[in-house]
Amino acid sequence: MSLQLIRPDINLDFVGKRHFFVILSTAINIAAILLIVFKGLNYGVDFVGGSVVQVQFTNTTNADSIRRSLGGLDLGEITVQDFGSGGHSYLLRFEKVKNIAGLGPTLEAELAKTFGTNDVKVVRVESVGAKVGSDLRRRGFFAVIVATIFMGIFIAIQFRHVSWSFGTGAVIALIHDVLVVTGALVIAQLQFDLTTLAALLTVIGYSVHDTIIVSDRIREDASKRRREPIATIMNRAINETLSRTILTSGTAIMVLIALLIFGGPILRPSAFTLLVGFITGTYSSVYIAGPVVLFWEGRTKVGSLSSRAA
């Protein structure tokens, strides 16, 4: 017996509801931009510079005790985060340490005064200079822009015989996805570091992959049904690929949910990015990329897309 989640003859009206979803997506994108501008991402040490220090305690302790015991040191603002070991392991983040050299031994000596010499160990120190951090941030932003533009150019060239609007639709869908994911990261205040950036670039790749599947079916259907309106062709293409979309996205999402729950604090930001991105990428392939093509082609006469696809 074959696995059939969606009836082959299903005909949901995706295209008819496009105005509602375009308005909804625009509102979400505006909210995401406002969040990014006014609240900002929780950049990791990779992007802002500073030091991350992992400390292990023999006995259970809490963030307040650690902050208090380090109060005598002039280390600027300290973020103390439980590292998921039931109070035995903590991550300390320092954004502006004047003297990075000797940070590990200095912290260890200071913490030992409160917690005992043999009960506290600085097991990891990783530092990035402020200049390197800002350089990485600029390059990361540039990588996202370049990836988005090149994906758009690639799709535009691949579908040029049907319409150049597919490339535009893909780029707008990708911008939408990047904004939604970034906005979600701002709300969740999860750390945005190099791993999260890699996840964001993966989202771009996944989203465009999904857009290509839908666009390719539109191209195929357009060549078969030359007299049908573009909206009908598009809606049929989305329905025909719906089963595949749900199965592939669904399995990927299940894996990502497992990673988010069981992956631990280090993998959580990237798992969250991928999860939100895969959901958004699937949605944007249907409700963003399609309507852009429709908007573009809607100005031309009925059947023009079909005749070009032939």
Binding site: Q56, I100, G104, N118, K121, V123, R124, E126, S127, I266
Partner: protein
């Protein structure tokens, strides 16, 4: 606890290798808690080293063990550093290197 810090030259710059805690001795062997720290202090990673009793005597001092380990860690620096960082980041525990009759390492 021995206060000596041995210098290690690596592709990532100079590092110091020292003991982070007194050696733990039991009939099976000796357990060392070591720290690799870059000379400029921007990186530090701790890991453990278990040396089986068949390779060393119980009364061997920590400085001798550190001196024996140092060239081996210098040679295997990249692997040791990477594994130690990965283990601490993802498993939240220190990497444990084991040296015994089947894997003698520097002993």
């Amino acid at each position: 606890m021995v206060a000596v810090a041995l210098s290690i030259k690596t592709g990532r710059g100079n590092y110091r290798l020292n003991l982070a805690a007194p050696a733990e001795r039991d009939p099976d062997g000796i357990l060392l808690t070591l720290v690799l720290e870059r000379a400029d202090g921007i990186e530090r990673v701790a890991f453990r080293c278990r040396i089986a009793s068949e390779l060393v005597t119980q009364d061997v001092d920590e400085e001798t063990l550190l001196t024996r380990l140092s060239p081996w860690i210098e040679r295997e620096f990249e692997m040791t550093r990477e594994n130690a960082l990965k283990t601490i980041r993802s498993e939240r525990k220190m990497l444990e290197l084991s040296f015994d009759a089947s894997n003698r390492g520097p002993f």
